[in-house]
Amino acid sequence: MSSVPEAPAMIALVGNPNSGKTTLFNALTGSNQRVGNYSGVTVSVKSGETFTPHGKKVRVLDLPGCYSLRADSPDEQVAIDALTGMLPGEPKPDLVVCVVDSSNLERHLQLALQVLEQGLPCVLALNMVDVAEKSGLRLDPIKLSEELGIPVIPMQANAGKGIIELKQTLRFPLPFHPSAPWAHGPEDPGVARRSFIEQLCALAARRPDAHQQTISDRIDRVLLHPFFGWVFFLVVLFAVFWSIFSFASIPMGWIENAQGMLGEWLISKIPEGDLQSLLVDGILGGVGGVLVFLPQIVLLFLFIGILESSGYMARAAYLMDGVMAKAGLSGKAFLPLFSSYACAIPGVMATRTIHSPKERLVTIFVAPWMSCSARLPVYFLIIPLLLHESEGTWKQAAILFAIYALGTLTAFVTARILRGRLGEDAKPSHFLLELPPYRNLQWGYIFRHVFDRAWAFVSQAGTIILGLSILLWALSTYPKTSEGDAADKLAHSAMGRIGAVIEPVVQPLGFDGKMGTAILTSFAAREVFNSSIAILFRVEETDDEVQTRTALRDRLAEAKWPDGRPLFTPLSMISLLVFYIYALQCLPTTAVVAREANSWKWAGGQFVFMTGFAYLASLAVFQIGKLLGY
């Protein structure tokens, strides 16, 4: 064995959006990562490891998809930094793999040539050769390789074809530093590149003369139709919300049953006392109250994955451009805002593809008002209390739809006002969007993505929520008193005292101290509200039966103010829903906003504004409702 390394230590993948770069990255590293048909899936640099055919380990960086190395957007800046070794903590890559869509060489080679000019050893991954051949394009990889002076590997990353050939290039001696012959002439580099590409494509990628009507074109004629396109779009949106409500109830029933059986088993095994109470009321009640919403979250991410992977998401952005313009935003803000329905964190990160800096700031600011999946548990707890299932699930779905609509509408109005305040950008930017061809769904990636999100949710339930459940249980159990019934015991506990302090603040909103405490705990994470409510209202009762969600609802319906009025009136529940629509109760979001907006002031202002707005909106709902006699 020689001590000379046989393989490069690090390679970087560079390419346009929709070049299949992320698919290639996954094929190389086997890492769990999202693939999408929409530009902006790779919003930060992902890294993974791969092995050469000789078993040497190589680090792989997946750079954000970009159209040029001109540093026009944060995405492109990241790509440039990575290629020049300026990325903090990452060395300069030893080898760059330029990924191009071979059916689109005229466009994708522009970036490839700019990368070649950087002088790093390069390999060209000629991806999606199957698509190119199907469209009648005649490719000549050998000619391309001769003209560009670098290895060219025809491949089909989604089918795993060409991966071995690509891996063969990841070893010493590395390909020669490209000479970039076009860059040495007297012409403007842009003009020189384009004329080089034109000659190259005439030689090595000849197109058939006739302009073909593809299947995507035919589908688009319907889905982008000024009328039918909108019908389809609205049907899709409503179907997503409706199926989250109806289909998810089956697996939710299983989880509730399993939870109930586990609770009974624990009660039968452990003698009555603090330990039993901690396990059954604190941990099982708290964590279980949140875990039961897993099916709904899985479904939401499944739908987002399907929409992205099929290519429809870009069409939705195109359709929505006109609507977004009314909010002072563009269609580019659609994906970040739509992703925020799942979680504001990826949503805020996806704003990196927005070119206009001010539009980006505004989008970040309003993104948390797109009701995220962490609010769903709260909605699902409250909505059936407001309207019983026997009234029809479609009515419940309509309420859920209204909740989303209210948050979205307020976000749009705020965005418009804010956009007006911030004024125009120094450099005008216009709407520009690539509509990828419709593709078959990549189920493997969709399921991996859904699994990742579900796992993130479960592990949060196992850490933050578990910890808070134990803390809440302890606060509502100690200090103990032997006198009186359960309600007196709770009033005596630390939690009861906190509740008493908070009560005057939340009473104008129609909440009592216990609800106030539950809201307070949910500032760590919204879904904690459910576990808090379960724990807080359970202690008041004396029966030992493990509660299911229905039992919790019954208990909430029975809850009363000291003077005997019911605590959960329709009005106070609407007030509670309104509070949850608007309040920014998510520390990770605030941290991500501070990083992406590069300003703690912006993030802090957002937190104070949204929470203050939530309080005032909730106050207005309850007080006006009361005046109207509800």
């Binding site: 040029s68 001109r70 689109n104 005229e106 466009r107 034109e198 451009d321 313009a325 005008p428």
Partner: protein, 84 residues
């Protein structure tokens, strides 16, 4: 007036992409305006052929086999002439 342009090959006789009819195949003559670098990166280069697919607030073009949606302001910066 695209009809009169079929014989014109001078840049001065070209029309903007906004004025082209849906379904027409055209060739890009020249790009002029503040956003032309970005347009070129997307594939709207001189001499490239494209087909206009739809009109509206934003228009959709097929360039080298890819559908691109661009705003009317951008389309105004693309001067084209019909393919002979």
């Amino acid at each position: 007036m695209p009809r009169t342009l079929s014989t014109s090959h001078e840049i001065g006789g070209a029309v903007t992409l906004n004025q082209v009819k849906i379904g027409a195949d055209v060739q890009i003559r020249v790009l002029s305006g503040p956003s032309c670098d970005r347009l070129r990166e997307l594939g709207f280069c001189e001499n490239i052929q494209l087909r206009k697919i739809s009109d509206g607030r934003n228009l959709i073009c097929s360039v080298c086999g890819t559908r691109l949606a661009i705003s009317r302001e951008l389309a105004e910066q693309v001067l084209v002439s019909p393919v002979a």
